[in-house]
Amino acid sequence: MTETERVEQRIMKKTGPDLERVLADKFGDQLTAAQRHTIAHRIVRDMLDLNTKKSQDPKP
């Protein structure tokens, strides 16, 4: 595992549960726990990808 992958894993571990709580607060029973987990991890994954993309091609 590369250093970048380790950092991403830590970010996922830290931010994923936070976002799951946000989704639970915001949408309550409209989402199941499994859906919250999937959505939160997809968003964090997309944020990491966006961050990588922007850092490789920084434009104002």
Partner: protein, 131 residues
Amino acid sequence: MKPEDIFVLPTGPKWKITKSEKDTDAIYTAERTVPIGESVSGIFPSNGTKTRASPSSTWSLLSRLRRASSSIARLLLERPKPKELIEADSDVMTFVKAALPANLATAANTKALSLQVMTYFWRTMFGPAIR
């Protein structure tokens, strides 16, 4: 983003502002001569602080840091937030909308959730170290 965008530097003829750089840090020094016993109103030191005579005429570093941190906190509260903090990024909104089920992916939900996502992400990235 430049330091001047975040912090309000003291202005006026009584203040002498100098800027220097050390490594990647920008250092702003605000100097003003104040008669002993007079109250200072302005930025640094904090409002109402009275000058006093001392053998060295130099304030301790700890004291300076304490004054600076309280002033910076006050300045951050007074300063309008940059638009990056109050407007959701369009790329973030796109994938947040895509991640939500169709019945929940309204414009209002997408915008609100995007702002929360950005806030949590910034805290994670720029907050205390992740273990």
